[in-house]
C-alpha cells in the first residue's frame, strides 16, 4: 500500500479509535486485496511503510464482497461497481479477504 495512505490510515486509527474504522478496498486482484487487508490489520508485509509492525486489526472488506453489497443501495452499486463483477475474480477476492479477516481483524 502507498506509504502516504498507510500514514493516513495510522493517523485515523489514532484519532477515531481502530474499533470505529472500516477500510473498504477496490483492488483489481485477490492477492492485491489480501496485501492491502494485511497492511491495515497485521502490518505492512513489505516492511516499507508507517504500518510496518503495527497491528491495527481494522475491519476491512472489498467493495465487491456480499456482506458489504447487502448494505449498499442496489441501484447505486449497479451503476458504480456492477460491471466490475464481470471483470474481477470476486471468488478469489472473497477468499483472500476472508482469510485475512479471520486471522487478524480485532473488531468483528
Amino acid at each position: 500500500m502507498d506509504l502516504e495512505n498507510q500514514k493516513r490510515v495510522k493517523e485515523f486509527a489514532d484519532e477515531f479509535g481502530p474499533e470505529n474504522l472500516v477500510v473498504v478496498l477496490g483492488a483489481a486482484e485477490g492477492e492485491a486485496a489480501g496485501l492491502a487487508a494485511e497492511t491495515v490489520t497485521a502490518g505492512d508485509p513489505t516492511f516499507a511503510g508507517p504500518l510496518t509492525g503495527v497491528q491495527l486489526g481494522l475491519t476491512t472488506y472489498h467493495v465487491c464482497e456480499p456482506e458489504l453489497k447487502e448494505e449498499f443501495d442496489e441501484a447505486v452499486y449497479d451503476e458504480q461497481v456492477g460491471m466490475m463483477e464481470m471483470v474481477l475474480d470476486v471468488d478469489d477476492i472473497v477468499d483472500e479477504m476472508s482469510a485475512i479477516r479471520d486471522e487478524y481483524c480485532k473488531y468483528l
Binding site: F12, N20, V22, G26, A28, V81
Partner: protein
C-alpha cells in the same frame, strides 16, 4: 449488526479495479462516514 453504518470509513480504491470515488458513492448509501478516499495506481 451493520458493518458500515455509523462507522468512519477509509477507502483505498484501485485505478484498474474499483476507483475510490465509485466506492464512496456506495458507502454513502450504507450510512458510512467517509473520512478518506484514495485511488492507487500500479501502472
Amino acid at each position: 449488526m451493520a458493518i458500515l453504518e455509523g462507522k468512519k470509513v477509509i477507502i483505498i480504491g484501485d485505478r484498474d479495479g474499483v476507483p475510490g470515488p465509485a466506492i464512496a458513492e456506495c458507502v454513502k448509501t450504507a450510512g458510512g462516514e467517509i473520512v478518506f478516499s484514495s485511488t492507487e495506481c500500479f501502472v
